[in-house]
């Protein structure tokens, strides 16, 4: 990688051969500890740094009313003290050793990320192991952390219209499956989780067999194995968390939701049910999203933002998910454009794709884009770790990351037409409007 040549130490470079070694699937090594925690290790000696990503298979989909937001709250509590490292010590020890960290929670997973200079590897293992084995849930820390999360929730709603309308749409699109719940949680739940809720949740979901750990960087497989055996292996496995029983039934008719805010132009969100990431239609759906909104020449961007003034911006996405999820289109109206007009304009473009498909050039374009995305992923140790973990957890095998350009390549124009027709139907969608406050 890029800083390879920054290193003057010949010894480091000598072991590596040429600087242009591209990562291959066989460079990724895996092992699973007796307690069930899986490890992916990719040695990459280009910079004297490494990272550790721990993907816990717990997110807001594991919640119910009353404990909404608890997965995300744990993402915070995991930094608030364990047996050997009291409150604040996790971050203090890590930073003093040349490390930093962050974490994020989605509907599906909670992911902890540590970035560090290579010699801190053992410290990182000690810190992670202690909080997995012996997290302390100090009531005082819980109280102050509630305030932090309430502030996080509030600042999201204050600064992001997408967040506001997104939560509304999600809550209506799903009527049975817990994907209806906002990851951050309901305000009233945030204020009232009990100590018992927290302890139960930790016991249920933070068992080593419910996680995949990815380490990429200037470390060796042997080092990682030794440290994993020493620090993580002694943590006993508990039973796997209960399966989620609820299955969202097929949507049988359009749903609508409106919300108001003091904004200048309407925001429109259209969300369609689509299958989970492992489904064979994933690649076609993902390319469909690119065809609609990736780049100024994409269908929706060109028609609504570049060639007309209907929208100031438009995007679409489908998240990685364990259960059937949503394909979401989000647009911000231009001046004097109503929400229904914007919605109709989006619809027209979708109908054209359903009816006529796209051109071979367009399809080749989005496939080329996917290949370039893949190269960019491989540019940094961070990109490698994040994507290896994501592919392993959601696609079932990290090798899919390397196969992705080929799997996208296999998608045909017929596939695009088919998935557009199958999923982007009126009956299968929820439309949300975020509208300017009516004049007072």
């Amino acid at each position: 990688m890029k800083l390879k040549k920054l290193l003057l130490i010949a010894a480091v470079a000598a072991g590596l051969g040429s600087a242009s070694a591209q990562t291959k699937p066989e460079d990724v090594k895996t092992f699973t500890l007796q307690n069930g925690m899986k490890f992916l290790v990719l040695e990459d000696h280009s910079i004297p740094n490494a990272n550790m990503y721990i993907f816990w298979k717990v997110g807001s989909r594991n919640e119910v009313h009353g404990i909404t937001g608890l997965s995300h709250f744990f993402e915070h509590m995991m930094f608030n003290g364990s047996k050997q490292y009291g409150p604040k010590q996790f971050d203090r020890v890590m930073e003093a050793n040349g490390g930093s960290n962050n974490a994020y929670t989605t509907e599906n997973v909670t992911v902890y990320t540590d970035w560090f200079q290579k010699d801190a590897l053992e410290t990182i293992f000690k810190l992670e192991a202690d909080r997995i084995a012996n997290l302390s849930i100090d009531p005082k820390m819980v109280e102050s952390e509630r305030g932090v999360v309430l502030s996080e929730r509030s600042t999201g709603l204050e600064n992001s219209n997408y967040r506001l309308i997104g939560e509304q749409v999600q809550s209506v699109a799903f009527q049975e499956h817990p994907y209806m719940l906002p990851v951050i949680g309901f305000e009233s739940d945030i204020k009232s989780w009990t100590q018992q809720d927290l302890e139960n949740y930790f016991k249920t979901y933070y068992s080593p067999n419910n996680a995949t750990t990815v380490i990429v960087g200037d470390v060796t497989l042997d080092q990682v194995k030794k440290l994993a055996e020493k620090y993580i292996a002694p943590i006993p496995a508990r039973g796997l968390p209960p399966k989620i029983r609820t299955v969202e039934p097929p949507q049988n008719g359009e749903r609508r939701v409106n919300a108001y805010k003091d904004i200048s132009t309407p925001n429109v969100m259209m969300a369609y049910h689509v299958p989970e990431t492992k489904n064979e239609d994933f690649y076609a759906i993902d390319l469909l999203s690119s065809l609609l909104t990736s780049g100024n020449s994409s269908r929706l961007t060109k028609a609504l933002v570049m060639d007309s003034t209907l929208a100031t911006s438009i995007s679409s996405s489908t998240d990685e998910s364990f259960d059937p999820s949503l394909f979401t289109i989000y647009a911000i109206a231009g001046s004097n454009v109503s929400a229904p007009d914007l919605e109709k304009a989006i619809d027209r473009q979708i109908e054209m794709v359903i009816k006529n498909g796209v051109t071979d050039t367009e399809l080749q374009k989005v496939k080329n884009q996917k290949l370039m995305d893949f190269y960019h992923t491989l540019e940094t140790i961070n990109g490698k770790a994040r994507n290896l973990g994501t592919y392993d957890v959601f696609f079932g095998d990290y090798k899919r990351m390397f196969e992705a350009p080929e799997l996208y390549k296999n998608v045909t124009n017929e596939d695009i037409k088919r998935v557009a027709a199958k999923y982007l139907s009126e009956r299968n969608r929820t439309v949300g409007y975020l509208l300017p406050e009516k004049s007072k």
């Binding site: 800083l3 962050n102 374009k365």
Partner: protein, 458 residues
């Protein structure tokens, strides 16, 4: 997410070296006969090429037409002698390349990233965009209309606009006060001819540089760049004498921006910072790491971890060519505005009164050094480093001496750094929030000025 600021810092921060002695990778720098400076650096890990092209065409040159620099750089892509705007976009999208215009206070230009196999096409487009833009009127008018709407939309997010208010409040008559995104009245009046005129006087080879970093052979790329840009004739470089702005304030001032529907107060507190070439940048950055540059920083510890008043608090030095600012940045719900501001001020005060001890300093050094290598890990980052060297007039010694400067800082020296560079009193406050709830409480911090967030400009 655990911390939003850490995520931002990871993208933005310049920090230090880890275990080894570092050098900037080998690169070649030369000037074409027309004065254009070219940097070439080979990086072969992935089959990509990255370009960063910069000119002395930043918003400092906007004059009374705020946004002119941004509009012009965006409009470079609105068609050239050879290609229409849609043709450029289709060509770029087709090969999955990236071509982005950008504007900052002291520079404007484009960055690009593309596959080696597409280099003929992409280099041709880049040459067309930089040398032969036509600023198509129809495309420009659509863009202007959209930009005006976006300016209003931006104000829906305090976080998106507070920096503009802060710069306007601190820099006064100096052109760093100009909001780079423009304002409704200024952008509304702009024409494609204005963009062409701004281009002609500011995109000049005498004050421009192009860095190419990636998977190529230097000799080949040198020939290509010479062929593409050697014949480019522009106006002569303008010589503008600038006097650094005076940021020594005589009193504390508060700018309260009223957002009647606000549920929280978003605020910046600070004053004078350091310019880009300050000899003390490294020690200032190390000390700021302790004050507000990482998760365990004193500000985040006090306002978030100890009290739960906010999701995050930080402090930062923003450096520009002729000056810089310092700001403490955080937000809190309306009702805790004063406790949060007071607490932030106490933390700043403790930096001056108590200072640093060896333990915290050594922790900050380790942190800063370890976060250095990832900063320049990608070829795109290296391309931007090279053009930053050109714009801000520094060289690789900045990187090559970074580690020793970090290591060399003592607690004794840190006292002087704190006294010299961290504002202590006569602080400047910008707060965006619900004025009816906080006005009476925050006027104690200084002379109060009030604006409505929906009013044009900043």
């Amino acid at each position: 997410m655990k911390n939003i600021f850490i995520a931002l810092l990871a993208l933005l921060s310049v920090s230090a070296v880890a275990q080894s002695t570092f050098k900037v990778p080998k690169y070649e720098k030369f000037q074409l006969k027309n004065g254009l400076t070219i940097y070439l650096m080979e990086q072969h890990e992935v089959p990509l090429i990255n370009v960063s092209a910069v000119f002395d065409a930043g918003s400092i040159n906007d004059g009374d037409r705020a946004g002119m620099s941004m509009v012009t750089s965006d409009a470079l892509l609105f068609g050239t002698e050879k290609y229409t705007k849609p043709q450029i976009e289709e060509a770029i999208d087709f090969v999955g390349a990236r071509l982005q215009p950008f504007t900052a206070k002291d520079m404007a230009g484009i960055t690009a990233s593309f596959a080696v196999k597409d280099q003929e096409k992409l280099l041709d487009i880049i040459q067309q965009v930089l040398v032969h833009p036509v600023f198509d009127k129809t495309e420009f008018d659509k863009y202007r209309q959209r930009t005006v709407v976006e300016l209003a939309q931006q104000k829906e997010s305090p976080r998106a606009v507070i920096g503009h208010y802060y710069n306007a409040f601190l820099f006064g008559n100096f052109p760093y006060a100009i909001p780079g995104d423009g304002t409704k009245p200024t952008v509304e009046k702009m024409t494609s001819d204005d963009a062409m005129a701004f281009y002609k006087s500011n995109y000049t080879t005498g004050k421009g540089a192009i860095a190419v970093v990636g998977d190529f052979k230097t000799a080949d790329m040198k020939k290509k760049m010479t062929d593409l840009f050697g014949g480019w004739k522009t106006a002569g470089a303008r010589m503008v004498k600038r006097v650094a702005p005076n940021l020594e304030f005589e009193k504390s001032r508060v700018l309260l921006v009223d957002k009647p529907d606000a549920r929280e107060t978003t605020f910046l507190i600070g004053g004078k910072g350091i310019d880009y070439n300050s000899a003390d940048y490294v020690p200032v950055m190390v000390v700021n790491t302790i004050l507000g540059g990482r998760f365990t920083s004193w500000l985040n510890d006090a306002l978030r971890v100890n009290s739960g008043l906010t999701y995050g608090a930080n402090s930062r030095f923003t450096r520009m060519k002729y000056a810089g600012t310092f700001a403490i940045s955080t937000f809190t719900k309306n009702s805790t505005t004063v406790p949060a501001v007071d607490m932030a001020l106490n933390v700043l005060d403790s930096l001056h009164k108590t200072g640093l001890n060896d333990e915290i300093l050594s922790s900050a050094k380790a942190y800063v050094k370890a976060s250095f290598p990832p900063t320049y890990e990608s070829a795109g980052a290296l391309a931007r480093l090279l053009t930053d060297m050109y714009v801000y007039n520094f060289d690789e010694s900045f990187i090559n001496t970074f580690q020793s400067k970090v290591d060399g800082l003592t607690t004794e020296q840190s006292k002087k750094i704190i006294a010299d560079y961290f504002p202590k009193d006569k602080l400047q406050f910008v707060m965006i929030g619900k004025a009816s709830e906080i006005r009476d409480q925050v006027k104690k911090y200084g002379d109060l000025t009030e604006k409505q967030i929906k009013a044009d400009g900043y």
